[in-house]
């Protein structure tokens, strides 16, 4: 994947404002973010408040003071409340792992592309090695070593995904580092740090943003997948993946437990992918996209 320098590919403001393909999914993501941030204020109940006499109640039922808008789970907890708190886990893991792996990967990629030589060889061969292990397997192995839990999931995903950014940053930096203005800056005595952060980074950030957006959706799925397997967020904390895993045991009697968390996951990832596609089309019209 190659990208044009941002100066020529940056979309105009008016074009951005008018595109529903961008703003509709962005609005949906904003709703999820607000639900996650303000979960303690807007959730009707405590996420772990049990009502054992109101177990597995369908959406719209009332039991002992609990009004189950989206139904209750196997311990009589309100599903809607747990969806709000589940959004927190998903979004926290996705934001944190994208920020950490993006920072590490971009730094590594820029250094490899700028310094060349031994640094390039070591860093990029390491990237090749990481990328040749299927990501979910690498994540599972690392969780098996570190143990489950929210913070460990972030660490695992950071460790697993930084090479993705390193590869794109490396490819982009190679192109930019040979530009006359960068060579001139080097000639004028600018430090490596100044060149990388003032001249290279602004020109590769568009390509990195596209990757980061698509990775964000993937990280939401990874967190849910690990939690689904019991390796991510641990009970009684809410996570959409863990809720789906519970719901699997009640498919014949309580369809809502697996349906709503899955729907939330689907909508969030769909929205993120739509934005990723839109960004990719705008930053690089030649890149593949359906």
């Amino acid at each position: 994947m190659t990208f044009a320098p941002t100066t020529s590919a940056r979309p105009s403001r008016s074009k951005t404002r008018l595109r529903p393909a961008f703003w509709l999914p962005a609005a949906l993501i904003l709703i999820f973010v607000l639900a996650a941030v303000f979960a303690p204020l807007i959730a009707p109940y405590e996420p772990n408040a049990q009502n054992l006499l109101g177990r597995l109640r369908p959406p719209g039922t009332v039991s002992r003071g609990f009004h189950y808008l989206l139904g209750s789970d196997e311990l009589g907890r309100d599903l809607l409340t747990r969806l709000f708190y589940g959004a927190r886990a998903s979004l926290f893991v996705a934001f944190a792992s994208v920020a950490l792996s993006g920072t590490i990967g971009v730094l590594a990629g820029m250094l490899a592309g700028f310094l060349r030589g031994a640094a390039e060889l070591v860093l990029m061969r390491t990237v090749d090695v990481f990328l040749s292990i299927p990501a979910i397997l690498l994540a599972i192995l690392t969780v098996a070593v570190l143990g489950p839990g929210l913070v460990n999931v972030v660490l695992v995903l950071t460790l697993t995904r930084w090479p993705r950014y390193a590869r794109i940053a490396y490819g982009q930096t190679l192109g930019i580092a040979n530009m006359p203005y960068v060579r001139l800056a080097t000639f004028m005595g600018a430090s490596a740090g100044r060149i990388l952060f003032r001249h290279v980074l602004p020109n590769i950030i568009g390509a990195v943003a596209v990757v980061a957006t698509l990775e964000f959706g993937l990280m939401v799925l990874f967190e849910a997948g690990l939690s689904f397997l019991g390796l991510g967020v641990q009970p009684p904390n809410a996570s959409w993946g863990a809720m789906l895993s519970t719901g699997r045991n009640y498919l014949a009697t309580a369809w809502w437990i697996a349906t709503f968390p899955g729907l939330c996951l689907f909508l969030l990832v769909l929205a993120v992918n739509l934005i990723g596609d839109d960004l990719r089309d705008r930053f690089d019209p030649r890149a593949p996209g359906a």
């Binding site: 090749d128 040749s132 690498l138 699997r248 359906a290």
Partner: protein, 309 residues
């Protein structure tokens, strides 16, 4: 061709050693890997004895060389919990995962490639927008949710197919569809892009001007030229499908490698987990190599450039 082949083989070998090195260091991420292998209730004496018997008290570099030597002999160690060689455990589970991945590949390619053709040929029409939406939806749907939805509809409500476990071919249908849907999107996208690239070329315009029908154009002219990226993606997708089986097997209680991996994590049978991950990585390296070689067999330019570099 020989030079290209040797170069690629050399690269694959370096990556394989790199993978083994990475996994060795991951094993030592928390300091002492003995703790990954003993039950939580183990006493100090048990842990010391285990550390000594597995050689974890040797210098790190000696352990590393031992680990590489073991792998060179295809020895993945012995499961502490089951007291069987890890290779035997993997061997007994592998056919199930392969069957699942093969079925999923048929679903992914069987739906994805025609959808990609439709997207390229019907560009700008209503059909193409509907197909785009289908691709995007499939891409955004977690396999564990699509699996659950499939079970709810086809097993619980309609009762047409079994919800889980093994048996005849009917047991394979739902897991293969759930696993294949995600890759379907990849196949559709890559087919579309490859065809659009070809459609913009002069020879296509000439053929069209000569009145060649769309069907003939697709099968006689475009299929070979556009197949290069599709072949590469197939190789990559096979390894993705094998990895994706971890989750799908859990949803459908399918007794393949994914299920034993997850069970082994909870049973603290680390060597089995490590064995499956090593196998997954080696298969990926091998498939990438195969893709490269196929790619060069179809398109001689790649071979020549690759050999020159």
């Amino acid at each position: 061709m020989m030079r290209f082949l040797l170069k690629r083989l050399g690269q694959a070998l370096v990556t394989t050693i790199g993978v083994a090195t990475l996994i060795f260091f991951l094993q030592h991420l928390t300091g002492d890997p003995t703790y990954l292998l003993v039950p939580e209730t183990a006493t100090r004496a048990d842990i010391d004895a285990m550390r000594h018997s597995l050689g974890f008290d040797r210098p790190l570099f000696v352990q590393y060389l031992g680990f590489l030597g073991q792998l060179a002999r295809f020895d993945l160690g012995r499961s502490i919990v089951q007291n069987i060689d890890v290779t035997t455990i993997i061997g007994s589970r592998l056919p199930y995962t392969l069957a699942l991945a093969a079925g999923a590949l048929v679903v992914a390619g069987g739906i994805g490639i025609p959808v990609g053709v439709g997207l390229a040929f019907m560009r700008g029409r209503a059909v193409s927008y509907a197909l785009s939406a289908l691709v995007l939806a499939a891409q955004s749907m977690p396999t564990f949710w699509s699996g659950i939805i499939l079970i709810m509809i086809f097993a619980v409500r309609l009762g047409w197919l079994p919800p889980s476990s093994t048996g005849g071919i009917e047991h394979l249908v739902l897991p293969c569809v759930a696993l294949g849907l995600l890759s379907m999107a990849t196949f559709a996208r890559i087919t579309r892009t490859a065809l659009l690239d070809e459609l913009s070329k002069d020879y296509v315009r000439t053929a069209r001007a000569r009145g060649v029908s769309r069907i003939r154009l697709l099968f006689r002219h475009l299929a070979r030229n556009a197949s290069t990226p599709v072949i590469t993606v197939t190789a990559i997708e096979v390894s993705n499908l094998l990895a994706g089986a971890v989750i799908v097997e859990t949803v459908f209680a399918w007794p393949g490698l994914g299920q034993i991996t997850v069970q082994s994590i909870f049973a603290r049978d680390f060597l089995v987990v490590q064995g499956v991950v090593l196998l997954g990585a080696f298969v990926t390296v091998a498939l990438n190599l195969v893709a490269d070689l196929l790619y060069s067999a179809i398109d001689p330019r790649i071979r020549l450039e690759g050999a020159r570099r």
